[in-house]
Symmetry: none
């Protein structure tokens, strides 16, 4: 199908905004008898619902709670099952690291083991940022593996991203994070016969790191997961696939990483939603497509804080009006998955998708929420249909045959 | 799936009507604040909506505006992407020409070039019908290509259908219509290595035609597109695939052509919708399945004439009652694609499908339009699901396994 769409592309000056509230959707919270979207007072988005058309998105498949990676790949039109990129890759790209084809990246935590080598803290007492920065530099400067170069990028608090660069690596490696304390920490194992060498290099990295961290308790150990290398062949860019010059307006590393991977330019977007909207306005003439990401709805979902999630939607609502006021040909407001505060993790629930634009037929829905979206005219769509629909609503697809 | 359906077929005397309003669906017209279907006063179809069930059809895939060919193939249950038939074939079949397996057909215009060979009129001053008939006979009688037979069928006004019959032809040929004036007219090029010979024959046809038309200005040139040969292997007929003796009631060549290609008998249907309905009545006992096609809704869409499209639906409405009054087991009213007057071309918008019959469960929709169809009980279906549903609603499918 991608080849068919590609042959139908035409350019025009209609711009596309894809507004992604991370973990947007919820389910009924027993204490409140409503979803967060239902409870929120969001007159701007409700008015857009009244003028636009809604549907519900399944990002991967029925019943599946998507991770942020598959949730986003699906929205961007890339098969979320076939597009298999390790989290380490997304984190490395997200902090702006220029990942190359021989780079093996992982997502790492500093951790604490006791005298018997038993894992006692998976987050090493959540070290201060300066401490993490110091330890990452210590590792990067002192780990020496013959024929390989090592980078250690600090993340937030206990998190960091180790990258090993050299020949013959593979990301078909097991994770060392047992996910629970009170147990030992396993070695890296090869998941494919071709990954034996990479496993030995990864284990050598860990051996040296432990030696260096020996006297740095409580940061005396490390846990590695989300092994990844850049996809080969590379992922087709937004420009090639859709003929769109695309910009990403996001504040968290991973989402910047996904956006970079599909060829978006990541704009310097500040931290607040106000700054993000201002960033879109500033660059309005420079791009065809704007991906705008807001993380806090998901964070509130994970925290189980119903009121915080409602507050976040309400706080963003007036600024949505400013985004819409920029005059895109079509604007979509949706999420990459559900994170209901009643569940505190990603869930499989379908996510509302609200479309507005000249070619969008006004349906009968009057508010932006899960139930109204479920009876909207857009129906139940797969995430990978979102980009074709946005192109079509923007008048950017020609007729298929005569 | 086709084999599975085929094993479940059973015959009965329940008739099926598929009423296709070409380009039926629209989108909100800014001057009227409604779609054409919403604006039309169509009490008969609204009553059928109140008694029947509606849904929305995607003929090809999300965001894709189907050509008339793919739109119809999809409704008839043939994969609209895999079923790749050149427009020339459909036009030739449509005017009743008995196309054979060695025939290469195209869709052609008479055109005008100036003294410098520059295309100045893509329609050659829209010649009168007698003139076109005369020129086609002139070409047919005088073009001589060794080993090949040539037919030149007149179409309406400037249009005609050349057919070259002989060994070793291919339809993998480029079109010569530059779509704009003020430029030269390119030769035919082979799109596959195996089509080199066909390209040379096609170019010889053009060379001789130009020589013959030399002094016939403004009809001194020709443009060729939509090259096609009959599919090999042939398309499975309606009778074989569905066990249905099928009749087509259509007034335009192309739609007759598609119907012939899938094995329908094309009835002599006059020109008006009244005559079309009368044709169905006259042949009611002779067929199991009636495809009834009405072109004018699409023409009004292309013309951007909101009121004309509304008027056309309103004019047809009372006659729909007569079709329904014939007592089919199931009747579907739908379109092959959308042609919104606000866009003036085919669009990607889903098309309402209204089912009525004994086995159709009455849903809550009360009017026949895009938004009501979008909340109807049939849901969002692919065009290729229409025929299985019609067979089932007519009680013509057995249970699958015990």
């Amino acid at each position: 199908m991608h080849d068919i769409y590609k042959h139908l592309l035409r350019k025009n000056d209609k711009k596309i905004i894809m507004m992604v509230f991370d973990g947007l959707a919820g389910c009924i919270h027993p204490d409140y008898g409503a979803t967060e979207m239902q409870a929120a007072h969001i007159p701007v988005m409700d008015e857009m619902a009244a003028k636009g058309a809604q549907g519900l998105i399944t990002h991967v498949a029925a019943g599946i709670a998507p991770g942020s990676g598959p949730g986003h790949f699906s929205l961007f039109g890339y098969d979320p099952i076939a597009t298999d990129v390790g989290r380490g890759v997304l984190e490395a790209l997200g902090v702006g690291f220029e990942l190359g084809p021989n780079d093996l990246a992982a997502r790492a935590n500093f951790a604490t083991h006791d005298n018997a080598g038993i894992l006692v803290d998976r987050r090493a007492g959540r070290p201060a940022q300066e401490r993490t920065n110091y330890l990452c530099k210590l590792l990067e400067d002192n780990i020496k593996i013959d024929g390989y170069q090592v980078f250690v990028l600090p993340g937030r608090s206990h998190r960091f991203v180790p990258i090993i660069r050299g020949k013959g690596l593979s990301d078909r490696l097991s994770e060392t994070d047992p996910q629970v304390t009170g147990t030992g920490i396993p070695d890296v194992k090869a998941m494919d016969p071709g990954a034996e060498h990479a496993a030995s290099i990864a284990n050598e990295f860990i051996r040296q790191a432990r030696a260096i961290l020996k006297n740095e308790a409580p940061q005396n150990d490390l846990l590695l997961r989300g092994w990844g290398m850049l996809p080969d062949p590379p992922i087709e860019t937004f420009d090639r696939r859709y003929g769109l010059k695309a910009a990403a307006v996001a504040t968290y590393p991973m989402y910047k990483g996904i956006a970079r991977l599909v060829g978006m330019e990541v704009l310097d977007s500040g931290k607040t939603f106000e700054q993000e909207v201002e960033t879109v306005r500033k660059h309005w003439d420079d791009y065809d497509f704007f991906y705008v990401h807001r993380k806090e709805t998901d964070s509130a979902g994970h925290a189980g804080d119903f009121k915080a999630k409602v507050r976040e939607l309400e706080a963003c609502d007036p600024l949505i009006k400013e985004l819409w006021g920029l005059g895109p040909g079509v604007m979509l407001i949706t999420g990459d998955h559900a994170t209901p505060t009643a569940i505190r993790e990603h869930s499989f629930h379908e996510v509302p998708a609200l479309f507005n634009g000249d070619l969008v037929i006004t349906d009968h829905t009057m508010a932006f929420d899960e139930v109204q979206a479920g009876s909207g005219m857009v129906g139940h769509i797969h995430g990978t249909d979102v980009m074709p629909l946005l192109l079509a609503f923007a008048g950017r697809l020609l007729k298929f045959k005569s």
